[in-house]
Symmetry: C2
């Protein structure tokens, strides 16, 4: 009798989950809110309700080998979620144990971006690669690093927090971490909106973005303005791409990957962001790295990569 | 009959070499100039002369298993030295093959900092560690990264060029690479001398360094002035440490090492540089990494670490 695994991808806004077979087919999938749950218990209760229903459809809990979970600041060694700035639950949460107690089946947990990297390596753009870095540009900026064909977890299980590396010393303050000038403060969805506000308030240049209340501008608004040719909106992506390019150059000089795989909302802006990113990356690389590293956009369905990666934890 | 290996550490100024036994004892060692050899052939001829003499003392070439070499921009996959900014030989040099043709014994070549990292892991401060980063602060700034107990070589064999990561965008120009604001342009011996010149020429503050012709100030002069309490010299190390601290924070958030192992001339400045380094590193880390990562100074004899590491290539 075929067995399945459950993959769960917890994000700051929403959580996606699905039932996956051995070949990486997502048989059923669903979604729920993360941020409305101020308590982790009610979150797990709702997750249990959704998944129980779905698991019934594939023959009941007896068919489920376990649950693999990707979560921000998730730690594969301890099964805990620790001080995740973008989640409603503070401190150190023994998340894997709590889910295991509720579901009575094995649970493994890792960082959400690490899960996505495993998904890309098994089923996506990084298939067959031994050295690559996966970077998610979403509400936050996450990353998963594969070297020598293995995911790098690090000594405490927290490797690959590239969104928090400092790119502009004494730069923009990150409201979640209090750091100055970190990558995430510029190249997340929030960072793009912030850059738009800065550029708009520093000049009187015309822009369709001025029809929106300045405090309500989102990265989506900036994107929609940019594809219509709005110069200010295009400059926002240019600025964002330049900062991302410096960061990518640094990552390349760290682990010399074959490819950088970008994933998440901001990649929809295509060359508006990728062109300045590529150019700035190349300009900051030393000769031995120039014109070698591929920048690829993930081809997996956005909802699938992390679910697949998380589920892969249970096939190991 | 016991066999030995030869370890060779090629630096921009000088080259060190030694005969090493299985337990990591350096039986004989020597040194020669690198930079006086404008041709790689004459360099190899001189190296052959020195080593032949030394090899006779341990019983001849029949006792030598091979030669392990660490060199700047050395590539373990191809055995080539590629575009090394601090070496007199330009372009791509098939160095391992050239040495093998001359000596008629097996040769392996890798990056000098990678070799030093292997030396630390086998015989030094990183003994038993699975995740650490070795950073050499010398004429240049090199690095070797170990994760999951393995050296990270990367897709093209050039992983760990942390000295060339950009810390201050649009900062100081590196004369070798033309990059702006790279770590090496600030925290190498040359970088420290440069910072002293900048600080001296930007004010009239008294300093014993003013007794030296400004274009001839070396990092050693700055060190000697600083330990005598010279305020300007102390500020140079403070400034250098702050930049190093930002870089180290970024490296920690990349691979989450157990320790950072510092090696090379600048570490002699002790807390003059280490205190601002540590403080700035901690200030730039996100919570999950704070107060966890050790900053260690290599305890191996400076001449030994890279010779041991290079020799270890041949025991593998």
């Amino acid at each position: 009798m075929e067995s399945y695994v459950v993959g769960v991808d917890i994000g700051g806004t929403g959580t996606k989950f699905g039932i996956v077979d051995k070949d990486g087919n997502v048989l059923f999938s669903g979604e729920m809110s993360t941020k409305k749950h101020l308590q982790v218990n009610t979150f797990i209760d709702e997750l249990h309700a959704h998944l129980s229903e779905m698991i019934e459809k594939v023959g009941g809990f007896g068919r489920i080998r376990g649950i693999g979970i990707g979560a921000p600041n998730g730690n594969i060694y301890t099964g805990t979620i620790e001080y995740a700035p973008n989640l409603p639950w503070k401190g150190i949460i023994p998340f894997a144990k709590m889910v295991q107690d509720k579901f009575k089946i094995p649970v493994k947990l890792t960082n959400d971006a690490n899960a996505a990297a495993v998904g890309e390596m098994m089923y996506g753009a990084a298939k067959g690669m031994k050295d690559f870095i996966m970077i998610t540009l979403g509400t936050g900026v996450g990353s998963g690093i594969v070297a020598n064909g293995q995911l790098i977890y690090g000594h405490d299980g927290f490797a690959g927090e590239l969104g928090h590396t400092v790119i502009i010393p004494n730069g923009r303050k990150h409201t979640g971490t209090d750091q100055l000038g970190s990558l995430e403060s510029y190249t997340s969805a929030t960072g793009v909106a912030e850059s738009a506000k800065e550029i708009l308030s520093q000049s009187d240049r015309p822009s369709v973005l001025r029809t929106i209340n300045i405090d309500e501008i989102t990265s989506k608004d900036v994107y929609e303005a940019a594809i219509k040719g709005d110069e200010v909106a295009k400059e926002v992506f240019e600025f964002t791409g330049k900062i991302l390019g410096i960061a990518l150059a640094n990552f390349v000089m760290f682990s010399n990957p074959e490819a950088l795989i970008l994933f998440g909302g901001l990649t929809k802006a295509g060359d508006l962001i990728l062109k300045p990113t590529r150019e700035t990356m190349e300009a900051n690389l030393i000769e031995i790295f120039q014109n070698k590293v591929k920048i690829l956009i993930s081809h997996l369905k956005e909802s699938d990569a992390a679910i697949l990666g998380a589920s892969a934890l249970m096939w190991e």
